[in-house]
C-alpha cells in the first residue's frame, strides 16, 4: 500500500511504502551485513534508535544522513568498535564483528596514522593488524603505492606527507589485505575533486571484484553515482532503506509548465500545490498521470508553450525524506525537553 504525504519541511510530496522500508527480499545467506533494531544511547541521548540495515554481498551501499544523524555510530556498531544497547547485527555471517575483523577494511572519518612511520610501514602495520605477515604487508604496500602514483612517498614519514596523501596511504592500508567488506566513513571528505574521482573509481573496481562496500556520506552526489542501495538515517532512525531508484520514486515527478494565457478555465486542471514563478507554473505530477493533465490543458485553451517533467534526483529525495523524518522527530519530542533546550 502506498501513502502520499506532503512534507511541510521540504515542500515536497513523499510516497510512503507502508509495507516495509527495508528490502527483505534478499536471501539471508547473501547479506554481508544484517542489522535489526540497533539502539545506542550516550548519556541519555539516543544516537541510534532502532536502525535496520541489510547490505547484500558485493553491493555498494551508502548510508546517507545529515551531520549528527547517527551514521558513524551505526558503522561503529557494525564494526564491533562499540556494542549496541539493544538490537541484533550479523556481519559476514558472524554475530560478533570482531571475529571477522580480518576480512574487513575500515577507514574511519577521523583519519589517523603514526606520524613517525614511513608510508610503506604504515600500510604494512595496518595489514599486520588484519593478519597479513609484515613482510607481505611491506611488499604489498610498495606495490599499492606504486600503482596509485605514490611510489615516491614510500619511504617518507607520514608527518612529511600532505594531509591528502596521508589519507590516501591510509586508504591503501584499508584495502591492503583484500577484505571482503570495506567500510568507509565519510571517505570523500578532505579529498580534492581529482582524488574524489579516483576514489569513486576505486570503489567501483572493488565492487566489481565482489567486495562489499559500505560508506557513509552527507554528499548525495557520490551516493547517487555509486550506490546500488542506500539507507537514509535521520535523527538516529532509518526512514528509508533500499535501492536508489526506490528513494527517487518516493517523490512524484515535478512538472514545469509555460503557457501563453496567464489564467483561464484550464487552471482547474492544475493540482492545489501549483505555484507560479516568473513565466512558469511548478507542480507535482498528479497521480492520474500526464495524459489527463495534457488533455485538460488543451481543452481549456491553456496555450502550452513548453512542458517538462523532471524525475527527482536522489538529492531531492534525501532532502524530502530526511527533512520529513527530522520534522517528525521534532513533533515527537516531548514539550518539556524543547523548553529546556530553548532556555539554554
Amino acid at each position: 500500500m502506498k501513502i502520499e504525504r506532503f512534507s511541510s519541511f521540504t515542500g515536497m510530496s513523499i510516497v510512503d511504502d507502508a509495507a516495509s522500508p527495508v528490502p527483505t527480499a534478499v536471501p539471508f545467506g547473501e547479506l554481508a551485513i544484517e542489522a535489526r533494531a540497533l539502539v545506542k544511547r550516550f548519556d541519555g541521548f539516543t544516537a541510534v534508535d532502532g536502525v535496520d540495515i541489510s547490505v547484500p554481498r558485493g553491493a555498494i551501499y551508502g548510508i546517507l544522513g545529515p551531520n549528527g544523524a547517527g551514521k558513524t555510530t551505526t558503522l561503529r556498531m557494525l564494526l564491533g568498535i562499540i556494542d549496541p544497547d539493544s538490537g541484533y547485527r550479523r556481519v559476514l555471517g558472524h554475530e560478533r564483528p570482531t571475529e571477522v575483523a580480518r576480512r574487513i577494511g575500515y577507514l574511519p572519518e577521523e583519519r589517523g596514522l603514526y606520524p613517525a612511520m614511513k608510508a610503506t610501514e604504515a600500510i604494512a602495520f595496518l595489514a599486520a593488524l588484519r593478519g597479513v605477515p609484515l613482510k607481505d604487508g611491506r611488499r604489498r604496500g610498495r606495490e599499492l603505492l606504486e600503482e596509485h602514483g605514490l611510489g615516491y612517498a614510500a619511504d617518507r614519514q607520514i608527518r612529511q606527507l600532505s594531509k591528502g596523501m596521508a589519507q590516501q596511504v591510509q586508504l591503501l592500508g584499508t584495502l591492503v589485505h583484500n577484505p571482503d567488506l570495506v567500510v568507509f566513513d565519510e571517505p570523500f571528505s578532505g579529498l580534492d575533486a581529482l582524488n574524489q574521482g579516483k576514489l569513486e573509481r576505486m570503489i567501483r573496481s572493488l565492487a566489481e571484484r565482489g567486495t562489499t562496500v559500505i560508506f557513509s556520506t552527507h554528499v548525495i552526489a557520490h551516493a547517487e553515482r555509486l550506490c546500488d542501495q542506500i539507507a537514509i538515517i535521520a535523527g538516529g532512525k532509518v526512514p528509508f532503506a533500499g535501492p536508489v531508484d526506490a528513494a527517487r520514486d518516493r517523490l512524484r515527478p515535478q512538472v514545469r509548465l509555460e503557457t501563453r494565457a496567464i489564467d483561464g478555465l484550464w487552471r482547474a486542471a492544475l493540482p492545489t500545490d501549483a505555484r507560479h514563478e516568473g513565466k512558469f507554473w511548478y507542480f507535482t505530477l498528479p497521480e492520474s498521470g500526464v495524459e489527463p493533465l495534457l488533455r485538460a490543458l488543451i481543452e481549456g485553451n491553456a496555450g502550452i508553450l513548453s512542458l517538462s517533467i523532471e524525475r527527482p534526483g536522489l538529492h531531492d529525495a534525501f532532502v524530502a525524506i530526511a527533512g520529513e523524518a527530522a520534522a517528525r522527530a521534532l513533533e515527537e519530542t516531548p514539550e518539556p525537553a524543547i523548553e529546556r533546550k530553548g532556555r539554554r
Binding site: 556498531m77 562499540i82 556494542d83 544497547d85 575500515y106 574511519p108 593488524l129
Partner: protein, 406 residues
C-alpha cells in the same frame, strides 16, 4: 599593541584555567600535597618499625635454673638505666647440676632472633656467638652476672667468649638485608619504568588511530601488546644500566657491596628477581595503562602521575613492613595481594629456600595481570570508546549459557 598582546594572553589563560579547574583529575592536583606528607609519615613509621624488628636480637640463657632466673632478673633491673640497646634475655634451657649444653649447635639451629647464648655459671659465664656479638655483649653480661650474684660479692666475672662464624639469627638478619635490597631495587626499577605506561594510549587517541585499532583487534590485545612492548623497553634499559654498572665495577671501583647469599641461592634468586620484576611491571603497568587510558590529554596524565607514584610507594612500604614479620598474617596478605606479591615473594626467596611457593605466586600474579587487562580493556571500551551495555556479571556468565542454548 601591548594591550592586544595582553588581551590575547587573557583569552589563552582563561581557557587554560577553566580547562584545568573543571577537569576530572583536578582533585588529584588539590590533594597532591597531602601525598608526600602522608607517604613521608608512613615511610618514617614503617622504616623505624622494620629496623626495630630486624635489629631486636635475643640472648638465650642455658644455665642452672636459679642462676638463669637471677641473670634475667638482673638484666631486667639494669636495662632501663642503661643507654643504648640491651638485648632481651630468654631462657633456653634450665640445666640440672652437671648437665652439659652444646651452645654452638644450639645457636646454629636456634630461632631467628637468638643471636648469642649464655652458658656456664654466674661466677664463670660463657658467651657463644658471632665475633661481633661476643665483643659487643661481653661487658654487659659481666655486669648482669655481677648484679645477679651480688649476695655473695660484687665481682665482675671474666666472661669466656666462644666465637662462631655465623648463627641462625645472623643469617636471618643478613638475608633480611638481601631481601630488603632486592625489594628496593625492584621498587626503584618499577617506579622508574612502569610510569611510562601511563601516557601510552594518549598517542593513539591523539592520532585517532585508536578507531582503526579497535576495529581490527580486541582491546585486550591492544593493552597486552602495549604492556609487553613497554616491558621489553624496560628490560633493554635494565640491560644497559646493568652493563654500565658492571663495567664501572670492573674497571673503576674497588668493591661491590656484599650481600648475604639468599636462601634459594644467587642464580635462582636472580632468575626469580627477573620474573618478579616482569610481574610487578605487568601488574602495575596494566593498572597504570587502564588509568592512563581514561586520560584524554598529556596534562591529565601528568596530573595522574602523582597519585600513581604514591600508590607504588604504598605497595612498596606494605611489602617492606611485611618483610620484618615472617610467618604472620601480614606477610601472607602481602604475598597474596596481587600488586605487592612480587615484592613480598622476592623477599621470601631471600629468606626461605622452597621453590614451589614461587611457582604458585608467579601463576597467581599472571592470573591477575590477565584480570586487570581484561577489566581495563572493558573499562576503556565503555568509557573511552563509548561502547554498549555493561559487560558485567550478566554477560560474562550468561553469554556462554546463551550461546550453548542456541
Amino acid at each position: 599593541m601591548l594591550a592586544h598582546h595582553f588581551a590575547a594572553a587573557w583569552v589563552v589563560a582563561r581557557r587554560d584555567f577553566c580547562a584545568v579547574i573543571f577537569s576530572k583529575t583536578f582533585i588529584f592536583f588539590l590533594i597532591g600535597p597531602l601525598f608526600p606528607v602522608f607517604i613521608g609519615a608512613m615511610a618514617g613509621m614503617i622504616g623505624a618499625q622494620v629496623q626495630r624488628d630486624l635489629d631486636n636480637p635475643q640472648i638465650g640463657v642455658a644455665m642452672p635454673a636459679h642462676q638463669g632466673d637471677a641473670l634475667i632478673a638482673a638484666r631486667d633491673a639494669l636495662a632501663p638505666r642503661m643507654a643504648g640497646g640491651v638485648p632481651q634475655f630468654v631462657v633456653l634451657e634450665r640445666l640440672q647440676p652437671g648437665q652439659a649444653f652444646d651452645a654452638r649447635s644450639a645457636l646454629k639451629q636456634g630461632g631467628n632472633r637468638i643471636a648469642a647464648i649464655v652458658s656456664g655459671t654466674l661466677e664463670a659465664p660463657a658467651l657463644t656467638g658471632t665475633p661481633e656479638r661476643v665483643d659487643q655483649w661481653r661487658g654487659q653480661l659481666a655486669l648482669f652476672a655481677a648484679e645477679a650474684n651480688r649476695g655473695e660479692s660484687r665481682i665482675y666475672p671474666d666472661v669466656a667468649g666462644y666465637k662462631i662464624a655465623t648463627s641462625a639469627a645472623k643469617q636471618h638478619t643478613d638475608q633480611a638485608v638481601t631481601a630488603q635490597a632486592g625489594q628496593v631495587l625492584l621498587f626503584l626499577l618499577t617506579m622508574l619504568l612502569a610510569g611510562m605506561v601511563l601516557s601510552n594510549l594518549v598517542e593513539e587517541k591523539a592520532n585517532k588511530i585508536i578507531e582503526v585499532l579497535a576495529a581490527s583487534i580486541p582491546m585486550d590485545a591492544l593493552f597486552l601488546g602495549k604492556l609487553f612492548a613497554m616491558l621489553a623497553v624496560s628490560l633493554v634499559g635494565i640491560a644497559v644500566w646493568g652493563s654500565v654498572y658492571g663495567a664501572l665495577m670492573i674497571f673503576g671501583m674497588k668493591s661491590v657491596p656484599l650481600l648475604a647469599t639468599p636462601a634459594v641461592g644467587w642464580p635462582v634468586f636472580l632468575t626469580l628477581g627477573f620474573f618478579y620484576f616482569a610481574m610487578a611491571y605487568l601488574l602495575l603497568g596494566s593498572l597504570f595503562l587502564s588509568i592512563g587510558g581514561m586520560a584524554t590529554t598529556v596534562r591529565e596524565v601528568q596530573t595522574l602521575s602523582m597519585p600513581v607514584t604514591m600508590m607504588q610507594l604504598m605497595v612498596f612500604f606494605f611489602a617492606s613492613y611485611a618483610l620484618a614479620r615472617p610467618g604472620t598474617w601480614i606477610e601472607t596478605v602481602s604475598q597474596v595481594f596481587p600488586v605487592s606479591s612480587p615484592f613480598a615473594m622476592l623477599a621470601h626467596a631471600a629468606q626461605s629456600p622452597e621453590i614451589w611457593p614461587h611457582v604458585v605466586a608467579l601463576g597467581w600474579q599472571a592470573l591477575w595481570v590477565a584480570v586487570i587487562i581484561r577489566v581495563g580493556a572493558q573499562l576503556f571500551r565503555r568509557t573511552v570508546m563509548k561502547s554498549g551495555p555493561a559487560r558485567g556479571r550478566r554477560s560474562w556468565f550468561k553469554r556462554p549459557v546463551a550461546a550453548a542454548a542456541r
